[in-house]
Symmetry: C2
Subunit: 595 residues, 2 copies
Amino acid sequence: MADYKAPIRDMLFVLNELFEAEKFWASTPHTQDVTSDLAAAILEEGAKLNEQVFFPLNRSGDEEGCRVEGTDVITPKGFKQAFKQLAEGGWTGLSGNPQWGGQGMPKMLTVLFEEMLFSSNTAFALYPILGFGACMALDKHATDELKRIYLQRIYAGDWAGTMCLTEPHCGTDLGMIRSKAQPQIDGSYKISGTKIFITGGEHDLTENLIHLVLAKLPDAPAGSAGISLFLVPKFLVDAQGNLGERNPAFVGSIEHKMGIKGSATCVMNFDGAQGWLVGEINRGLAAMFTMMNYERLTIGLQGLGSSEMAYQHAVAYAKERIQGRSAEGPVNSNKEADPIIVHADVRRMLLTIKANVEAGRAFSMYVAQQLDITKFSEDQAAVKRAESLVSLLTPVAKAYFSDRGLECCVLGQQIFGGHGYIREWGAEQLVRDVRIAQIYEGTNGIQALDLIGRKVVKSGGALLQPFVEDIHACLAQVESVAELTDFAQGLTSALNWLQQATEIILVNAKQRPNFSNAVAVDYLELFGLTAFACMWAKIAYVAQKNLNTGEKDYYQTKLQVGQFFLQKLLPRGAALLKSIEAGDEAVMALAEVCF
Amino acid sequence: MADYKAPIRDMLFVLNELFEAEKFWASTPHTQDVTSDLAAAILEEGAKLNEQVFFPLNRSGDEEGCRVEGTDVITPKGFKQAFKQLAEGGWTGLSGNPQWGGQGMPKMLTVLFEEMLFSSNTAFALYPILGFGACMALDKHATDELKRIYLQRIYAGDWAGTMCLTEPHCGTDLGMIRSKAQPQIDGSYKISGTKIFITGGEHDLTENLIHLVLAKLPDAPAGSAGISLFLVPKFLVDAQGNLGERNPAFVGSIEHKMGIKGSATCVMNFDGAQGWLVGEINRGLAAMFTMMNYERLTIGLQGLGSSEMAYQHAVAYAKERIQGRSAEGPVNSNKEADPIIVHADVRRMLLTIKANVEAGRAFSMYVAQQLDITKFSEDQAAVKRAESLVSLLTPVAKAYFSDRGLECCVLGQQIFGGHGYIREWGAEQLVRDVRIAQIYEGTNGIQALDLIGRKVVKSGGALLQPFVEDIHACLAQVESVAELTDFAQGLTSALNWLQQATEIILVNAKQRPNFSNAVAVDYLELFGLTAFACMWAKIAYVAQKNLNTGEKDYYQTKLQVGQFFLQKLLPRGAALLKSIEAGDEAVMALAEVCF
């Protein structure tokens, strides 16, 4: 497999040139010390770790997998040392609250580091990533006492965090959970129940594990309004943070999976384990949701990071493998054949990946910026606007990125021909690993339903306004440059399709109960395509402006890949609109017995 | 995993109602003994074997895989006994030439049996399938002496066949092969070289293996005009068919693959192994191509069979798994939740699979009928016409079916949520197994290039004529029925798109060397979509005619699934046309260094 090389130049392009991060950071007190130079230095350090430490463990981790030994889970060789290096470098606390020892770095920076993690080694990435999420929920909802004891140790990478939501009989429909929380005299709870699909539920990377567990109090209301959130450590901890007794929260088994084999996916049995309430009683789902937007963007980044790796891997092969001749005549006449990158169809596949990766990276930064505004800005109107955008765009980022992730990894694999199917070559692992991103953290069908139902229909379309404004601003930019007519036209078409689709949905959703869900996935895809058209217009604007600088090839390439997006990928939007127009009739016509 | 149940009713619908097989069989001397009753009886027997013997070995075969022991390859537990049952039932000679003990059954029947094999156990299926191909090449090109010795034993399932084409440095571009054939005084040859990706290159299912090997004579012309085909047995065989000495044709290793793990994919080392010429010197590729059309359709059937299994599996889960409530209000109010088949998005996924499977099965029958005409018909004009159709449609069947196969298996897996990612549930195996169908037997990119280059452009579009005629005949049928206006309109649109695309390509291909290959994959997809629109029109016509028979629900379902195809899947054609119109410019613009 080609070595991973973090795409620092492209990352800085997005950060500095596309989103002018430094200017943005300077504008809020919590981020004003973050400069472009600091960001670049952090990314360079992160690149080294991913390229030299995590990436070399990717193939071996897949082959070795995890295993259960008694009550322990053993991770693949090298993972423990790698996690230690991650912790020592301060990366486990990168986005953490400085009050408890975190580094307080903005999401605009951490998205880029997370992308690297998913490029270099997805299975490994999940161990720290889950910790980020757990910390966020604790930081927002736990008591100061809990934060003091737990937060800084997770930030330090001494301990790791997990999320325990799913049970054997319910995943999407969490209202049905059966795990119980029995109140104790000392204010703590005894938690009992079985949780499945728990990423990193047990492992040997850290000395303690902090589980965040959803459970119900004995008198809780039925459904999702009766769910509370609890902190349940693997080893009990005293007020000074010293480890005590083992809590009865044990791994039952680990799943045998299609991919991410180096990540331990555990069945967890809580058998009267001691836990502490996080947030309010019966408000557990809400507490979970505060970090959901971050987590979902992060899982989107899995699709993006995997696609970047698929691209690097496939380009290297396409330049090296010789087979057949260029349609224009031999370019390599001293050899038996030409490198396959001369073939138009191979280029089509590479460009499809590249066009998606570059727009995806820009869009992830756009969403990250909105998350940072909600967290750091002191301008309440700006915060409110950003909250709307985050709420609208998070399901799009999660689902559209991970769908493109599978598509891109499959294309990357295809370029290898037969070798793409052989494990040692690595292309097929990317496909197996990225596939989970469409499923976990809420399936992509659920993301689409969230977008169309809770966001678009529920707001009567109002939630779209800030996004449409931003598109218009972008449109105004490209319309002002004569060379960018194609980008303006492409974005105008996409916006029209999206607005027509939205209107159709708003009209029909009220009368036809199944309409929204019947067109949800198509609508999310159209939404993602429109967002990418906007990102390409943005990229083209900056590239055109800088075309006559010293890096002409670099900016010219952006414009050319953008053209590929407009001509080859964007047309799909019209078909999606057609399918949305067709509504739910054909979807619902069949009686259940006729399936 | 839900048990496999062969879709006999749907198979008979296609065979008898859609293609009126009995009438067709009665019209040629070689098939006139094949009746509908006989066909149904054969399918029922085949169903039992697939349901009760091969399917139960599918999951275990994947987990166990194959292993090398010395010079042997051990297949998963149960495979040997299963192959014995296959042979004893006469299935290994089902399509074989009766002159050498085969059963002479038409392809119209064997496609259905092959579909079952790929539904029940793809890895197992490949062992007999490779034998069918080898026999066809031998039957067409070998001397009677070779046929007498080898053919009947392969038909009987005592011996198995392989195809040895690919070498480490060349797959697509076979002109570069380095395997050598040294002529011997007795008329035989000594074959030396290394072949890779050899399916069933070594295994323990049969007492002998017959390799068909491409190699070059010492004085052969360069490139593909210098390739000859040789028969190389694992054990040498005397004139009476008794096994003799071991030939030095040994397995070097087996590949570790993404899927089809029960199928031994071998590196084969030929070290002066004795072989016999099949067909003429330097005409080896041509000899291989005579069976290529059959093999490629068969690999298409892998996509179809896997999709059928994915459908059955996902439907069973969707009816059983409860999660959430119907948008129309609870349908299952005595339980905590409704079965997920009530959700429109789950139905969308199921219907997408069903719409592709049913059109695919019909299209495979259409191509099979053309293959049978080329083989059995005594009407020379009919044979010529059928040859054109086969030549045109084979790459479409191979690539479009296998592309849809991946799509459908991924959708099936998605319906399982988290369980779809867990190996024990079986949904992810289908995805891993079906993925190879897009790669082997000529990658789908190569199929698209074959369609557009060798078939469409080379004939100046003339090769499309019989297909367009058949579409018009189908169109005339649906246009004659008032209830089928939607089907007529859908097919008309599809045909228009295809004809526009063809014209654009014919005009541009001459001036722009990269044009064809830049749009080839889009064109093949548009072609497949048009073919499926035609099949749905055909199905709708028969269904509408029979709507008032006793099986109203059955035919009503066909019409409803057809509507789903028209409304939800067909619109993609317009986008493909757009992308084809955009041509090769954006595909070729980037300099190689800018990738």
